[in-house]
Symmetry: C2
Subunit: 345 residues, 2 copies
DNA sequence: AACCAAAATGAGCACGTGAACATTTGACAA
DNA sequence: TTGTCAAATGTTCACGTGCTCATTTTGGTT
């Protein structure tokens, strides 16, 4: 493979020297024109621009980077692009990158096993990047002892703080704290929590937020129900909740907090299928605000993460001058629609 | 205290020359060790590796690229990452890149106005990429006359053929051809088509596929209904279709082909809300297979594009040796569930 | 010991650029 | 004319690497 493109050196585009020769100026003058520096006569500039046009001049990236030391690009290592949150975060990163005229160099860590941060970091650092963002979807096995590559500012997308790297994530814990308080304030002291899968870090933090908040309010937490993020798993839990409600009694729940919107949708479908009304009989809230445009008449009260904000902050931390290390939790916003009823008094 | 000695030389990491000096060998020997070349004594290799470790050596990308000419990276210019299809395509590209040990350098073309291919190409070519993929979501104003940058193989994600670049896309036209024939074969000669927004290229091709197929079967096409991809717009059209069905008569439709799954979902909700049954009264098909896991009890018969396949092909075309120019349309697969009833005979 | 091929290692160049420094040009006042 | 100064342009260097070619060392054979 490497033997082939040595011959086709033809494909290399013209150098500044060739442009200079054609325009009858020095190479440095070409450099000045390219970089928009002052002190070039208008006549000369035009001649150079014409020569560039004629030769299809493309400033050689490597040459410039070799001299300047900056690549104007940050690395992004993703574990699984498909997950809902990652996409919006990626978008935030891309947007911030565009504003700074940076590119984003992505590497996917494939396979199903969680990757070590050291692997990702090592693979990324041999690329032309000025900083890097590591997305740690699942618990990385070497999270605690990970040492970032010297000279490349490294940001980790994670709820956990790290001794050597700035970490950023949506406040997963705070999200359920907020929603639980919201339900409590509306008089729902008996709620059910439908959790995500056990191996998900987000799921764990959301559950902890719910449980701790109930604890602080001195409210007993009913046994948790566990789904797998899918609408169908939510439906299954919804059937069990419907049975509890129909059974009545002081233990009957009046509200459901689902750890994501798809499961909330499933819960609602199951409740309504059992003849119950949302929110008249049972209130339901979800998390993620992921249904907009996807389902007709979306009326789910939910929570919106500022994922683009997370991406933006991550980018800025990755290129930032400040060497301070922080653990940033980006707060979320309540989106009130009409699946929660106030039953106080 | 160990993490402090990171930035030794002006923020730049150690060079091969420094490693060589520390190991007491020539710089060339270091180069050989780094690149895994033969003819290096085991003892020497170990000494060099130790020196690399001690200095935290990171091979300078620019230097290597300047000499070698290859960056092992392809550029990807996206218009709008969020759109459903783009994400899966991106995933396919990333996966193929990983298999070839390539990175993907992304640039987003922001704003709401369609971008010129020339702009994207120019911005991308100053990055360290060996080839590029341009995603032309909407009609680029300069599509016809676009000339790719010399020396950088350029692939366009588009249904249209291009005189100078290989183009690749899912077969949008063929998708509706397939679905229309499917409905016809099940006895539905009177169907309604719910189109996407007028400015979408995909939407136009899907509509054409439907219309042409009906024409070839000598079946008159009922007036088209237009949505905007959202479930709510599908619901609105579904209400109109329900009215037609309830009115009865020979003009009453027996099936609906919606140009995407969200609109199909809206149509179904509206039909059922009007007391009609799917598929007993009306059959419904969608496109994209986008509802899996998102809604409970997904039973929509739909069409699945091989978006990962598109991404993979695009990547391979972008790094391929072959200079042939093709227009590739990747076929799709029918996903039969239970929203279509056979009414023949 | 003497020799020699092969293996291991080293020396020097070229890649394309930006910055520092050096030189030329041109305009204007004395 | 001459001198002066700033603007315009040219010259040189260094960045870190891989490749070609030259040189040294190694290990085996005569």
């Amino acid at each position: 493979m490497e033997g082939m493109d040595q011959q086709t050196r033809n494909g290399r585009s013209a150098s500044a020297a060739e442009v200079a020769a054609l325009a009858g100026v020095s190479r440095q003058t070409v450099s000045r024109v390219v970089n928009g520096m002052p002190n070039v006569m208008e006549k000369t500039r035009k001649r150079v621009l014409a020569a560039m046009e004629e030769l299809g001049f493309r400033p050689n990236f490597a040459g410039a980077a070799l001299r300047g030391g900056s690549y104007r690009s940050i690395g992004l290592c993703m574990y699984n692009i498909t997950r809902v949150g990652n996409l919006a975060t990626l978008e935030g990163i891309m947007q911030a990158a565009r504003e700074h005229d940076f590119a984003v160099t992505m590497i996917e860590m494939g396979g199903d096993k969680p990757y070590a941060l050291a692997d990702a970091s090592r693979r990324m650092v041999e690329r032309p990047v000025d900083g890097m963002i590591l997305n740690m979807n699942r618990m990385a096995p070497d999270f605690e002892e990970f040492v970032p590559q010297p000279g490349v500012r490294t940001v980790i997308l994670s709820m956990y703080a790290h001794p050597r790297c700035t970490t950023i994530d949506s406040d997963q814990y705070g999200s359920c704290e907020l929603l639980t308080n919201y339900l409590l304030e509306h008089g729902h002291s008996n709620m059910r929590f439908v959790a995500g899968p056990e191996n998900s870090i987000s799921s764990r933090f959301r559950e902890a937020g719910w449980r701790d908040t109930l604890g602080r309010a001195h409210v007993d937490a009913a046994p948790m129900l566990r789904g797998d993020w899918s609408a169908d798993s939510g439906y299954a839990m919804g059937e069990r909740i419907a049975a509890e409600v129909l059974a009545g009694g002081s233990q009957a729940p009046t509200a459901v907090l689902a750890a994501n919107d798809q499961m909330a949708l499933g819960v609602i479908a199951a409740l309504e299928n059992a003849g119950l009304s949302v929110p008249d009989d049972v209130s339901v809230v979800g998390i993620d605000d992921a249904l907009e445009g996807l389902v007709p008449h979306n009326r789910l009260t939910t929570l919106r993460f500022d994922l683009r904000g997370v991406g933006k902050l991550a980018f800025e931390a990755a290129i930032g001058e400040s060497s301070s290390i922080e653990a940033i939790h980006v707060p979320s916003t309540l989106v009130e629609r009409s699946t929660v009823r106030d039953i106080r008094g």
